[in-house]
């Protein structure tokens, strides 16, 4: 009996872990496996088929000029975009955390607002503002002969990336600057260093890891971004690796194996960057002395206060105000052809036609429903799954629990568009016919965002002393009971924050869904993308406004639970 009992106990002990590993295999391992597999065989992956002979063809094709140009564009754009984003991000962080600039809290808010504008919407808005000839800015500047703005270009793409990816380095640097022990700087000051010297020899070295880490993160995100180079690069024939992958998949017939090979290469690049980024950020712990009760040292800017304010205001103007005005123009104009600057301000040119059209458009309505259903399900299921993983890793003593941690973090290094491809092929193999349903999107979003969910929940569980749970167990509660009575209530607000984060990220996401939707399962971001793709710019603008308004409502409702640091 005891042997039976023991076997039973052992198998139930491992049951939760086996379920978690199985889900991880479906969410992360299988898609990546399929991607790599597709890149080395000579037949296209199809439902039920895994045959094919090995080939090197897809990789050797990459030496072709077109790929090399796309690769070079990707690098140039990523480097340029990262530099600009770092300039905006660290600049705002310093001004917001360490100076006596007027309206400091607004500066801090400015640093994160663009996080909640999807890069698709940002790129669309800037295409309305800065396209050659018809761009609003060019129309406005034509009378003075300065109508030379062209965002349909590599510099244009870099500029838009710089604007919308600044918040990532802002968040990291802002927290490093505000958590730094002011005594470190004050002691340099009392030993005779000037403000500038203190900054150079104390402050800068201490925040360097945050700047470098933020830079690498931004670099990785820009490198895998699909929507900005698509919207702004397509008119000028500028390709990057992600847009190239999309082009290959959408060719007739699709060149899926070739896309897989390019995707695998892009993923390899990302793996290296993410690895270096983690190394840099893990050293952050002992460089910025984190602690409570510090009042960060404030630099008095004097006459330069207003220059600091102007910097922040300019950023907000470029990243939020101008794009919003452009979307409003496009969404509420009756006639999209604009002859001159005066027409931009002519009230008779405006009306509600486009807006009403979009609101009554059936695919927009299904898009909203689908987005809400998918984002809410992904957030709820995702947070439960992330909690289960985090709890197992942080609290169980089961051998192999570290594997969960590694697998949960894998998607960080997988480009969204590549992940979408892998998921598509993975579900060809799996016995559940969920392709063409919203369920596959829910799976994709959970897979894509589980690193963020896992990290934040695991961090909060680790802050709960194990004694608190064990004393419940000793008092007669089962393990599950103790985690429900003690752990969950103690980390409730972090779990809610993680759930809202997943909700917002899922709602915002475009790339991972690109190959996974069908006519009936289009989400809002796809609907907007299709409007743009089909040339319905007014509708795209109107839908973008509604989309952003929805996101803003979610963020505002979520603000209560989400600290600045959780927003990334």
């Amino acid at each position: 009996m005891s042997v039976l009992q023991q076997t039973f106990r052992r198998s139930t002990r491992y049951l939760p872990m086996s379920v978690i590993l199985l889900i991880l295999a479906v969410l992360a391992v299988l898609p990546i496996g399929m991607l790599i597999y597709a890149s080395i065989i000579d037949v296209v992956p199809r439902p039920g088929s895994t045959g094919g002979a090995l080939t090197r063809e897809w990789y050797s094709n990459i030496a072709n000029r077109a790929y090399l140009v796309a690769g070079r564009n990707s690098m140039v754009i990523a480097i340029g975009g990262t530099s600009l984003a770092l300039l905006f991000g660290t600049g705002l962080a310093w001004i917001g955390a360490r100076t006596d600039v007027p309206g400091k809290s607004i500066v801090a808010l400015a640093g994160i607002v663009p996080l909640f504008v999807s890069s698709l919407v940002g790129a669309l808005a800037w295409s309305f503002l800065g396209s050659p000839n018809q761009g609003f800015l060019n129309i406005l500047l034509r009378p003075i002969g300065l109508d030379v703005i062209n965002v349909y270009s590599i510099p244009g793409i870099i500029f838009v990336f710089g604007l919308y990816y600044a918040p990532y380095s802002f968040l990291l640097v802002y927290s490093a600057l505000s958590l730094m022990n002011p005594e470190l700087e004050e002691s340099a000051h009392t030993h005779g260093a000037t403000n500038f010297t203190v900054m150079r020899i104390v402050t800068l070295p201490l925040v360097a890891p945050a700047i470098i880490g933020g830079g690498l993160l931004t670099f990785a995100l820009i490198l895998e971004n699909f929507s900005v180079p698509t919207v702004l690069g397509t008119p000028a024939g500028v390709n990057t690796l992600p847009t190239f992958i999309y082009r290959l998949m959408n060719a007739a017939p699709p060149d899926a194996n070739q896309a897989a090979a390019v995707g695998a290469l892009l993923m390899a690049l990302l793996v290296v960057i993410v690895f270096v980024q983690r190394k840099v950020l893990s050293r952050r712990e002992y460089t910025t002395v984190a602690g409570k009760g510090f009042r960060p040292r404030v630099v008095t800017l004097g006459r330069w206060r207003w220059a600091g304010f102007a910097f922040a205001a300019t950023y907000i103007f470029l990243a939020v105000v101008l794009p919003l005005m452009a979307l409003l123009q496009m969404a509420f104009r009756n006639n999209l052809y604009i002859a001159g600057a005066a027409e931009l301000f002519d009230p008779s040119a405006f009306g509600l036609d486009t807006m009403i059209d979009v609101l009554t458009y059936s695919s927009f309505q299904t898009g909203i429903t689908n987005s809400v259903v998918v984002a809410v399900s992904a957030a709820l299921l995702g947070v439960v799954f992330c909690f289960a993983m985090a709890f197992t890793v942080a609290r169980s003593k089961l051998p192999g629990r570290q594997v969960i941690e590694y697998l949960a973090m894998v998607p960080v290094a997988v480009p969204a568009i590549v992940m979408g491809m892998g998921i598509l092929w993975a579900w060809f193999l799996l016995p559940l016919p969920i392709y063409g349903t919203l369920a596959i999107l829910v799976f994709a979003y959970i897979g894509r965002f589980m690193p963020q969910g896992f990290t934040s929940i695991a961090a909060s569980i680790r802050q709960v002393h194990t004694d608190l749970e064990e004393s419940a167990v000793v008092s007669g509660a089962s393990k599950t009971r103790s985690s429900l009575e003690v752990t969950v209530p103690l980390i409730r607000s972090s779990v809610i924050a993680a759930m809202l984060l997943l909700l917002i990220l899922s709602f915002r996401e475009l790339s991972v869904a690109l190959f996974l939707f069908t006519t009936d399962t289009r989400v809002l971001s796809i609907v907007i993308f299709d409007f743009w793709n089909g040339g319905s710019l007014g509708r795209a603008a109107a839908a973008s406004l509604l989309y952003s308004a929805l996101l803003t409502v979610i963020v505002l409702a979520a603000r209560r639970w989400m600290g600045v640091k959780q927003a990334g």
């Binding site: 005891s2 002393h465 608190l468 064990e470 004393s471 167990v473 000793v474 008092s475 007669g476 103690l490």
Partner: protein, 378 residues
């Protein structure tokens, strides 16, 4: 020793089954052996103190008893019921063992009130609501927190938290109570007071208790019996006074705060008296012991067994050394001296007499009765 006669009664019953029985217990963290082949028997109602340096496996022993760690080997029985047996594959989960435990950090749940904290174990037993209320309130009264029930537990002081933790571990009327350094987070004054309170409550309830500490004065003050541990093993087990008076090893003597410990070699053995030559000097000490000549030993003398006198005082038998007062400190109830006898040997002396106070630099005579000298192995 302060334990009452009534309390010792069950201990005396020779054939009574031990309340806690631990056999061949071995527990490992990976390759680190935290508890090494440990045997321990505890009688009903007694308080056993596990004493030992940091990392010697006290907490691990306790966690094995309560079931939070799974030993790799051994048997644990409580009141005759097998809780763990590696050979038979028996391991009762901690929530079914019914053992009370006070954690070093107290582990008070900050999101519950004092009452909810204490009532938790009863809720887990699915007792009727009225009974939970009655027993919880009774328990809160016992620990002196009658009026604090509705307070949030995160607002309590250290001492109050300690009481809540104690109440929570006792409310389910466990047969066995485990306390892991329950006073170590408190300041010295509070620690002294709570120590006696704790002992009072334990005796009043009569619960068999294991108390972990690395503070030897706490151990001696509280225990019915003390087990001195080292590297996962029990070095010596006994009542506090016998342990202090008759340590068997240098480690135990050192850990219990016996300060006069000198390594040496038995020079001669004659009719139950050994003469030991101390290492690194010519000083010889006589001891009532029976070791073979040439044996390596440690000479151990309690500081209160040493007397000091003027060199001119009349001589009595035994060990007499001439020395110089190196330091003297007045500690209220007693005076403590450090007397240099020669380059390698200096005695720590405690005297309660104020008849004559010596000052630094005074020449004195130090004497020790050979019967008070113990020879210890390592």
């Amino acid at each position: 020793m302060t334990s009452t006669a009534a309390h010792e009664a069950p201990v005396a019953g020779e054939d009574a089954v031990a309340e806690i029985e631990i056999r061949n217990l071995t527990m490992k963290y990976g390759d680190t052996v935290a508890v090494n082949d440990l045997d321990l028997d505890m009688n009903s109602g007694e308080m056993l103190v596990l004493l030992g340096p940091s990392g010697c496996g006290k907490t691990s022993t306790m966690r094995s008893i309560v079931g939070l760690e799974t030993p790799s080997q051994g048997v644990i029985r409580i009141a005759g019921k097998t809780m763990f047996d590696s050979a038979k594959g028996v391991s009762v989960p901690p929530d079914k063992r019914g053992i009370g435990m006070v954690f070093q950090s107290y582990a008070i749940w900050p999101h519950k009130t004092v009452f909810q904290n204490v009532a938790f174990p009863l809720r887990m037993q699915r007792l009727p609501r009225t009974e939970i209320r009655e027993r919880t309130e009774e328990m809160l009264e016992t620990v002196g927190l009658k009026d604090e029930g509705s307070r949030g537990a995160s607002l309590l002081s250290g001492g109050q938290m300690q009481r809540v933790a104690l109440a929570r571990s006792l409310v389910m009327r466990p047969r066995v109570l485990l306390l892991d350094e329950p006073l170590s987070n408190l300041d010295a004054k509070l620690r002294d007071r709570l120590r006696f309170e704790l002992k009072d409550i334990q005796q009043q309830i009569g619960v068999t208790s294991v108390y972990v500490t690395h503070d030897q004065s706490e151990a001696l003050a509280l225990a019915d019996r003390v087990a001195v541990m080292r590297e996962g093993e029990v070095m010596q087990l006994g009542e506090p006074m016998s342990l202090y008076d008759r340590p068997q090893t240098r480690f135990v003597a050192d850990f219990l705060g016996v300060t006069n410990l000198f390594p040496g070699q038995v020079a001669s053995s004659d009719g139950g008296v050994n003469t030991v030559r101390l290492d690194g000097c010519d000083t010889e000490v006589a001891a009532v012991a029976d070791r073979p000549a040439g044996a390596e030993v440690s000479v151990c003398v309690r500081p209160d067994a040493v007397t000091i006198d003027d060199p001119a005082a009349p001589r009595s038998g035994g060990n007499r050394f001439s020395g110089v007062v190196h330091a003297s400190s007045f500690l209220g109830t007693h005076v403590r001296y450090r007397i240099d006898v020669d380059d390698a040997v200096s005695f720590d002396v405690v005297t309660f007499s104020r008849r004559k106070i010596f000052a630094r630099g005074d020449t004195v005579t130090v004497s020790v009765d050979p019967a008070d000298v113990r020879l210890l192995s390592e």
